[in-house]
């Protein structure tokens, strides 16, 4: 039974920019415009804009939001200062990752939380359970545009009149622009500088047009995936899920145990934090031609009779490095940087090597 796909408020703008659409998380999303590789390079070398309005967004109001939110987040969001954001996880009671989120504290008593599109409904329910009427789901009444790349600062200055240097990394501000209110957070999902804007659809359309006019390239979900994978940023539902824990995913830094606050999954996470992980989310780079993709088996060539030691959680051709890159939960003993392994691509063992995270780091 096919559910009707949700349509982005700025769909006509995407169509006019030459978008090819594809379904993702219940939304009909722009997959590409000029081409995934060209778009990828535009973000690495100049600047690009992504319509990520499919992401879930809830606004929270009240003096005690921080304390109540803290009961469901792994990170200590209660200590967040106004004008700052923090990456966090929602975990299951067993310590599995239910979602990864960003909590922005706009003012002492006003917050914005961004959820993954696939989990938006469940996350909103989770938040409502502890915050009740303090929560408003603004996902369908706002749009979210990410502006990323080495020239993002210039583009934001030319359009929004925003001085990016005035916003600290992970900081957030709100501004009045052309009759609308624009939220801006200095966050992103590409490994580049820039930020993410949330505003009403009419103002969003003005911003989209202004950015394109300023020479910013429209970027689809295809390049968003290759960009985030080069930056080794996990994608929920692939690299992290309720079946993986924060420590093996390399996200232990997003679990705050020191403040002593109780939160969903705390007990399990304390236990997990006290023992060594048997597997580790690792970066694998192909040493020969081929495109690694999610679900392909990883084998140890010195013990190929043992079969798959892992499966890829993500994989792609890296437009920046021009090789295949991938991630997998490797057994801890085989996860050291430099370890030689192989990825089984249609029955052929293509040599691969464990490399340091991330695959790509911007020059700063």
């Amino acid at each position: 039974m096919a559910e009707r796909l949700r349509i982005l408020p700025l769909r006509e703008a995407h169509r006019a920019a030459g978008a090819r659409f594809a379904p993702f998380a219940g939304w009909d999303m722009p997959l590409q415009y000029a081409g995934i590789i060209e778009e990828h390079r535009a973000v690495r070398e100049r600047a690009g804009v992504f319509d990520v309005s499919h992401m879930g967004r809830v606004e929270l109001r009240g003096a005690d939001v921080g304390a109540r939110l803290r009961s469901i987040t792994t990170a200590n969001v209660a200590s967040l200062e106004p004008g700052k954001s923090r990456y966090s996880l929602y975990c299951t009671e067993q310590g599995g990752i239910a979602d990864d989120i960003i909590a922005y504290r706009l003012e002492a008593d006003r917050w914005l939380i961004v959820h993954n599109a696939d989990n938006a409904a469940a996350d909103a329910e989770r938040v409502r359970t502890v915050l009740g009427d303090a929560m408003t789901d603004i996902g369908l009444e706002t749009v979210m545009l990410a502006v990323q790349g080495p020239e993002a600062a210039e583009a934001l200055r030319a359009t929004l009149g925003l001085d990016l240097e005035s916003v600290p990394r992970h900081g957030c501000v709100e501004l009045d622009w052309r009759g609308g209110r624009v939220f801006f957070g200095r966050t992103g999902y590409t490994g580049e500088d820039g930020g993410e804007c949330v505003t009403d659809p009419a103002t969003g359309r003005l911003l989209w047009d202004a950015l394109l006019e300023a020479g910013v390239a429209p970027i689809g979900l295809g390049a968003r995936d290759t960009l985030r994978l080069e930056a080794a940023l996990p994608l929920h539902g692939h690299d992290i899920s309720p079946a993986t824990n924060p420590y093996e995913a390399g996200l232990g830094w997003a679990v705050g145990l020191k403040d002593g606050a109780d939160f969903t999954g705390r007990e399990a996470l304390v236990a997990l934090s006290e023992r060594p992980q048997r597997r580790r989310l690792s970066c694998l780079r192909l040493l020969d031609r081929g495109v690694p993709r999610a679900d392909y088996p990883v084998v140890d060539p010195s013990h190929s009779e043992a079969g798959a030691i892992a499966v890829l959680t993500s994989g792609a051709f890296s437009p920046s490095l021009e090789v295949g890159i991938s991630m997998a939960y490797l057994p801890a003993l085989l996860s050291d940087v430099g370890t030689h392994l192989a990825v089984d691509i249609r029955g052929r063992a293509i040599p691969a090597q464990v490399v340091a995270r991330p695959f790509y780091q911007r020059r700063s």
Partner: protein, 130 residues
Amino acid sequence: MEIPADLRYTPEDEWLRLEADGTATVGITDYAQGQLGDIVFVELPDLGRTIEAGQPFGVVESVKAVSDLFMPVSGEIVARNDALEQSSELVNQSPYADGWIARIRPSDPAQVEALMTADAYRAQLPADAE
């Protein structure tokens, strides 16, 4: 979208050109490369291999998709476009010339005649194909 009139086509979006020496060159159509997007890997067939019509003989991979290549006619592989190993983007840039994939010596020339003409190929593409 280009569909040269002098080639033959399959419903799987391969083209075939009969050469003067009796061999046939095979590739994927302009429509196919456009649908796939940026092609980043081509798996070429081994020389001398015998392939039946309709059987897979290689793979093209774009950033987003993996797609099998199906041989339009039966025969033996007599050449392959090794340039694609380093420059798979040739399939996007020049699907009917520099982006050819393999050359086959057809074992049954009648199979060539049974392939679609350019008009027939165009007619079975989606109405909104560009």
